[in-house]
Amino acid sequence: MVWQLATVRAVRQETPRVKTITLELPGWSPHRPGQHYDIRLTAPDGYQAQRSYSIASEPERVGEIDLTVEWIENGEVSSYLHDVVALDDRLEVRGPIGGYFVWTAEMGGPLLLVGGGSGVVPLMAMLRHRAAVGSSVPARLLYSSRTPEDVIYAAELERLSRQPGGVEVFHTLTRSQPPGWKGYARRIDRAMLAEVLQPLGMQAQAFICGPTLLVENVADHLVQLGLPPSNIRTERFGPTGGPS
């Protein structure tokens, strides 16, 4: 696992505070959805800062990866990625990294994905991969965001859900909802999880990603609802917007 120089090929604003950066990797190798890359920045005086970012794209996209990054106030690396990075810039990266919080279609399902905020990023890699290989594993995503403007990948999730056999997407908006909103409008709780989990059954494989409190609460609820603990995998995201 070595450091390599990636080239920025595209930058896309997803929401007011979230951007996706497409990186072309000379040493690209297929990743498993859920894995991440480390980015290392070196200042002229030699000072280094390093953070991990979950891969948002599917391994079927050869030669490049998408990293979706939330802007964090006072975040050393996220502010650089948001405010400074431009097309054709080079970034030092290493990866793909991780082996616990991963899902590939051959692992089967059914699949319960629960994400809070930027925790949806690794789950999106799983869903994009699922669609790319035409997997028919039943899948449901429960995605918690504060406001409609904060929902990352909103249009794409809508499109994926409309495909035959597509993932079923359940949003909960905890702070404000648009007029006529028919989805959930509160923090994830046991009743909500019971409703979303029910059709998938107790064979479901659950992946939970987001802020540490959300992850702990959701994992507890799922165990109380009867899901075997060995069916539950978790990844805690921090205020840096990524796993580290």
């Binding site: 696992m1 991440h36 480390d38 991990s52 290493r94 990866g95 990294i97 991780g98 082996g99 616990y100 919080f101 802020p211 540490t212 409190l213 995998r233 978790t234 990844e235 805690r236 995201f237 921090g238 205020p239 840096t240 796993p243 580290s244």
Partner: protein, 93 residues
């Protein structure tokens, strides 16, 4: 408020996966681990990691006891594994 802040800064073994792979020469988050204090059995990826501790400290999510402590200096790596029953390092096939 202080407690909430600490809580929100808590990450897990996934956050230091690259570092662990550097030290052990293998992917470690999917390695089973057992806490020597309370017996909690779970993957290394589920251990708690705190953002601002010196070195890397991995704690048991059940009893919060220290499971692994790793300090890397320019010339050496110091590993304190008293908190874990056994570490499994997967050899590359």
């Amino acid at each position: 408020m202080e407690a909430d802040l600490m809580e929100s800064l808590t990450l897990d073994g996934n956050a230091v996966a690259g570092f662990l792979e550097e030290i052990f020469g293998a992917e470690m988050t999917a390695s089973p681990s057992q806490c020597a204090s309370c017996g909690y059995a779970g993957y290394l990826g589920t251990l708690l990691v705190y953002l601002h501790a010196p070195g890397v400290v991995l704690r048991c999510p059940q009893c919060k006891g220290i499971v692994l402590r790793i300090v890397k200096t320019p010339r050496a790596v110091y590993l304190d594994a008293r908190g874990v029953e056994c570490i499994r390092i997967t050899l590359r096939g």
